[in-house]
Subunit: 360 residues, 4 copies
Amino acid sequence: METKLKTAVLGATGYSGFELTRILLRHPGVEKPVLLRRGVEGNGSGHGASHFHVEQPVNLADMFPVISGNGSYPLQPFSWELLKEQGVELLFLATPHEVSRALVPEAMANGLRVVDLSGAWRLRNAEHRAIYKFHDDDAELAEKLTGQAVYGLPELHGEKIAKAKLVANPGCYATSVILALAPLVKAGVIDRQKGIISDSKSGVSGAGKEPTPKTHFVSVADNLSAYAVFGHRHLGEILEQLELNSGELIFTPHLLPIPRGILSTVYVHLNREMKAAEVESLFRESYAGKRWVRVFATPKLPEIQFSVNSNFCDLGFVLAKDGRRLVIVSCIDNLGKGAAGQAVQNMNVMYGWNEQEGLQ
Amino acid sequence: METKLKTAVLGATGYSGFELTRILLRHPGVEKPVLLRRGVEGNGSGHGASHFHVEQPVNLADMFPVISGNGSYPLQPFSWELLKEQGVELLFLATPHEVSRALVPEAMANGLRVVDLSGAWRLRNAEHRAIYKFHDDDAELAEKLTGQAVYGLPELHGEKIAKAKLVANPGCYATSVILALAPLVKAGVIDRQKGIISDSKSGVSGAGKEPTPKTHFVSVADNLSAYAVFGHRHLGEILEQLELNSGELIFTPHLLPIPRGILSTVYVHLNREMKAAEVESLFRESYAGKRWVRVFATPKLPEIQFSVNSNFCDLGFVLAKDGRRLVIVSCIDNLGKGAAGQAVQNMNVMYGWNEQEGLQ
Amino acid sequence: METKLKTAVLGATGYSGFELTRILLRHPGVEKPVLLRRGVEGNGSGHGASHFHVEQPVNLADMFPVISGNGSYPLQPFSWELLKEQGVELLFLATPHEVSRALVPEAMANGLRVVDLSGAWRLRNAEHRAIYKFHDDDAELAEKLTGQAVYGLPELHGEKIAKAKLVANPGCYATSVILALAPLVKAGVIDRQKGIISDSKSGVSGAGKEPTPKTHFVSVADNLSAYAVFGHRHLGEILEQLELNSGELIFTPHLLPIPRGILSTVYVHLNREMKAAEVESLFRESYAGKRWVRVFATPKLPEIQFSVNSNFCDLGFVLAKDGRRLVIVSCIDNLGKGAAGQAVQNMNVMYGWNEQEGLQ
Amino acid sequence: METKLKTAVLGATGYSGFELTRILLRHPGVEKPVLLRRGVEGNGSGHGASHFHVEQPVNLADMFPVISGNGSYPLQPFSWELLKEQGVELLFLATPHEVSRALVPEAMANGLRVVDLSGAWRLRNAEHRAIYKFHDDDAELAEKLTGQAVYGLPELHGEKIAKAKLVANPGCYATSVILALAPLVKAGVIDRQKGIISDSKSGVSGAGKEPTPKTHFVSVADNLSAYAVFGHRHLGEILEQLELNSGELIFTPHLLPIPRGILSTVYVHLNREMKAAEVESLFRESYAGKRWVRVFATPKLPEIQFSVNSNFCDLGFVLAKDGRRLVIVSCIDNLGKGAAGQAVQNMNVMYGWNEQEGLQ
C-alpha cells in the first residue's frame, strides 16, 4: 500500500454512495476519492436520486453535516476527462441501474475497473433481467460485458473478483439470503421439492432516499408491510447464485420501521435427518477464514442491532427436534455488507489487500 | 339490553386488561365493570404483572392518565364475596395463566361465566399443555373444565361460545395464524407434506408490561429479532385448532420495534393448481357475515397500521403464477382482536348481542 | 338532534381531513359527510396535498384501508352546486390556506357556515399575516371576512363560536401554547419583561402528508431537530390570542420522531411569588367546566401518550421553590385537539350540542 | 506512543462502559483494556447496573454480540491486586456514583490515575452534592479528593486535565449545556436577570440499562415526557461550571423515543444588541482549535443525527431580529461526547496525545 489507490464515486449523495464515501475516506489504502455528480452536461442519464442541477461544485459536507468539520468534499461534474486527469483507477457506481448500464461500456473502454452497486450487471439469465427493462445501446456489447461481470460476493467468488474488471455488487436482500443458504445448497442437504422460503425484513434506507408516500415517516412508523411478493428484483440474483429453479424459492420482502438493517428468516426442509452440531459445522466450515461472516452457536440467533454499522453478515439457526426442519436467521446492515461495505470488501479483494482493510 | 350486564375484570393494570377495561367502559350493554386487584389476602397466586401490595383502593386513572378527567376507577381487592355482592355475572381474567388456572374452578362453582385471556384453558392436548407447567390442585376437575372450555374464536366457534360457561380467549399470534389458514385447511387445498410456515412479527406490548432487558427501549428500537423458534406457547393452539400435526407447521415469532400490532406472513403450498379468484372466493365465503375479518382484494395486502386500535383481522394474499404457492398476510392488533377486543366479541356472542357492539 | 346536520369535507385525503372524516362518521348528530375532492374542473386552486386527477369518484376506503369493510366513501368533485343539492349546511375546509382563502368568500355568499382548518382566517394583524403571502381577489371583502372570522378555540371564545359563520380552527402548536398560557396572562401574573418561552415538539403528521426529504423516515427516525426558530407561522396566532408583543414570546418548534402528538414546555417568570396550590387553582378555575382540558395535580406532568387519539389538552406544571419560575407542560394530539377534534368541538358549539359529542 | 498505555474499565457491561470499551479496543495508544466486574468478593458496593454473580470469567462478546467474532473479552473480578499485576496505570470507572465514591480513595492511594464517568466527583459545592446522598467513610479525605478532582471538559479545563490524577467526566446533559453557554457567559453578554433556559431532550440510553417501567419500549415509543423539572442531578454541574446562581438557569430534561443523542435548546437574553456575525465569531473564537466542537454557520442548526456515534458537540444558533434574544441548539451523543467519547478525550489530554486519537 505504498502509493494509494485513486478511486472515484459517482452517486455519493445517495444512501449507499454516501456510506461508501465515508468508508473510503478512512481506508488506509485509498486516496481521498474523487466525488462525482451527474449534471446537465454529464454523460449519464437524467434520473436517479443523486441528480442535481447546480453549476458550482457542492460540498458533500453541506448536504451531510455528519462529516462536516474536517475539510471539504467537493462534488465535481462527472466526465471521463476528469477521471483521466485525476488518474482514477477504480470507479464506484452508486447510481440507478439504467445509469450504470449506460456508463459501464465506456468505463471498460477507458480501462477503468468498476464496482457497480446497482442491479445493472448482476444477472446472466435474460429472463431474470427482464424486470429491469434495460435498453442497451449496443446489445451485443452489453451481453459480452454481462458475461464478464463478476458477482461481487467475496465469500463465494473471491478468486474471480480478484481479477475482475467489472464487479456487480450484490443486492442487499440477496446478500443476506445467499449467504444463509449457500452452504446448505452446496452440501446438497436441502429437500428442494418442499420449497425454500426467505421471509426478509429491511430498514427503510433500503428503499432509497427518494421521498415517496411509502417512505414518509407516518407511513412507516408503527407499521410493517410486505411488498413485491413473488416479484422483487433481487429474486433473480438469489436464484442464479444458488442455482435454484424459480419454483424452489419464495422470497418475501417486508418494510421495517427502522432506518437500516436486514433480517432474513430462511426456512428449509432437509433431505435427511441431521444433528444441530452437524449443521453448525457445515456453516463454520463453509465460512472458515471468512472474517465478515459470523456463525452463531445454535440456538443463539443474530439480531439486526448486532450487525448494523458493520460489514458483518451474522448467521444463526435452530433445527427442529425432528432433525429435518431448519430455520436460519441472517442479519446484515443493508448499507454495510448489503451495499457500501461489501463494495469496499470487493475493492480489497481486487487489489490483493486484507478483506478487513478499512472496514473495522 | 334493558338491564346492563355486570362484569368484573381481574388484572386491569396489564396491557390487555387495561385495553379490555377501556372497551367495557364504552360498551352500551355493560355496566361500569368492577375492577379487581389481587392482594396479599387474595385468592390468586402472587406472581404476575398486575400485582401490587397497597391496602387502599387504587384509582386506575392514576396509573393510566389517558383515562383521567372522567371520574374515578377504583381497583378493589379481589374476593368471591365482592363479586357476589356486586351481582357480577361475567368475570374477565386478564391474569397470568397460573392464576387463571387456579381461579377458574371456584368461579365455575360460583356460577360465574368466565372469559379467560390467558393460555390456561386453551389446550386439550396434554402434550401441547406441557409447556405451561400447570400444577392443578384437583387434576380431575381441571381436566373436566378443560373439556368444557370453548376456544374463543367467534369466527370458528360462534355457536359453542354462545352457550359457554368458560371461554378461553385465543393467543394473539394464534388468532392471526388460525384465521389466515382455517379456510384453506377446511377446504383441504393445502399440500401439508410440504409444510406450512407462519413467519409472525409482533409489537412489544405482546411481551407484557414487565420491564425486562428484552423490553428495554434500547434493546428493541432499531432492531428485529426472532425468538422461541420451534418452541412458542401459541404453537399448540394453532395446531389444535387447525388439526395439524406438529411437523406440518413452523411458527416463528419476531419482536418488532413498535408498540402494538401483529403481521403474520403465512406460506402454503397448494395440492392443486388454483386461480387467485378461486382463493379469494374461498376466503370471502369462509368469512361471509363475519364483520371482524376483512378480506383484501388480491394482490392488495394488509399492513399493521390498518388494524391497529381495532378488532379487525385483515387478510390478504398473493398467489404465485404457478397457481401452487400462496403467501397470505394476516394483520391484527395484538391487544384488539388478539386479546381485549376478541374478549369483548366473545362476550357479545355469549349474550346474544351484535358482534360489533362496543367495538367500533 | 332529531334531523341530522349535513356537512361536507373538502380535503379528506390529508391527515387532518381524514381524521375529521373519521370523527364525523361516528358523530351521532351528523349525517355521513359529503366528501369532496378538488379536481381539474374544480373551483379551488391546484396545489395542496389533497389533489388528484382522476375522473371517477374515488373511494376513500381504498386510500385508507383502515376504514374499509364498512361500505364505501366516495370522493366527489367539488362544486357549489353539489353542496346545494346535498343540502350541506356546514363546510369543513381541510385545505391549504390559499385554497381556503379563495373559497371562503363564495361559501359565505352561499350561506354556508364554514370551519376552516387552515391558517387562512386566523390572523387579524396584517403583519402577522404577511408570512402567508395571501393574494386576495377582493382585498376589501377578505378584510371584512377576516374581521368576522372567529378564532375557534372554544375554551376562550365559546360564545362567539356559537354564532359564527366562519370559524378559523387554530393551529396545532398554537392550541397547545395558548391553552397553557391563557390563565396566567389573563390573571396578569407573568413578568413579561423576562420573556415567555415555548419550546414545542411535534410529531411528523403535523408536517403534512407531502413526502419531502424532511419527512422521509430515515431523516426523522432516531433524530430531533429544531426549525423555523423565530419564524414559525403559528407565532402570530399565539401573540394575537394572548395579546403579547412579539418580543415577549419565543416559540421554537421541533420535529419529533413520532407520528402524532405535541408537547410544549412553556417557561414563565411570575411577577410575584406564588404558591403551587395557587397556580393550580388558577388553572383549575380557568378551565372549570371545560371538559377537553385536563389540569394535572402538580408536580405530575402530562406526556404525549396520554392525549394521543383524543381531543384533550393536558396541562401540568412545576413551580420552582422560589415561587417565581414556572414550567408548564401542555400536551395535545396535533390531529385531535390540534386540528380535527377541535374542528368537531367547534361544530358542537356552533350547533348548541354538548362539546363532547362524537369525540369520546 | 511506543509502549501502549495499560488501562482498566470497571463497569464495561453498562451502556457507557461498553461504549468506552469499544473505543479503547481500537485506540492506537492503548493496550486491550482489562475488563473488570464487581463480584461478591469485590471491594465495590453491591448495587448498580453492572453487577452479576457468576464465578467464571464472562466474555463480554457473549453479552454484546456486536463485538463477537474477533477474539474474547473476559470480564475479571475486580481487585486491586489484579490491577497491580496487570500494570494498569489508568482506571476508568463506569460505575454508579456510590461505587465510584467508595473506590476512588483507594485508587488514589494505589497511585492510579482515574477517569470517573459517574457524578461522584464533579461537584465542589456541598449544596449541589446533596442530591447524591454520599456516605463517605472518610469525609475529610473525600473533601480533599473533591478538591483535587478536575472536571473533565477538555474544551474548558485542558491544562488541568493534563496533570490530573482524578478526572470527573461530565454528565451528558451538562456537557451539552455548558458548551452551548460557556462562550457567552465568559464574554459577559448574557442578561442573567432574565434567566437562562435549557430545554434538553435525551435518548433512552441516558437513563441507563436497568429495565424499569420508564424505559419499557411501550412507555417510551410514540411519546415524549419532561422529568425532574427543577431537580435534575446535572443542574449543579452546569451552575458550577458556568458560575451561575441557581435562580439564573432553568434546566428541563425530556425523554426522547430514540436510543441515543441529546439536543439542548438553550434560550438566552443578551444584555446588549448584537449581530449574528458577532455571536458566530464569539463561538468560533471560543472553540478555535477545539476539534470536537463544531460551530454551525447561522441560521443552520445541528440535529441529533449529525453527532450520534461521534465525539462531536455541534453548536448552532439563531438570533432574533431585535439582536437581543438568542436560541442556541447544542447536540451530542450522550454516550459519545456525553460519556465514553469524552472519557477517552480526557485520557488523550492526560497523556499528551492528540485529542482526536482513537475517536475518529
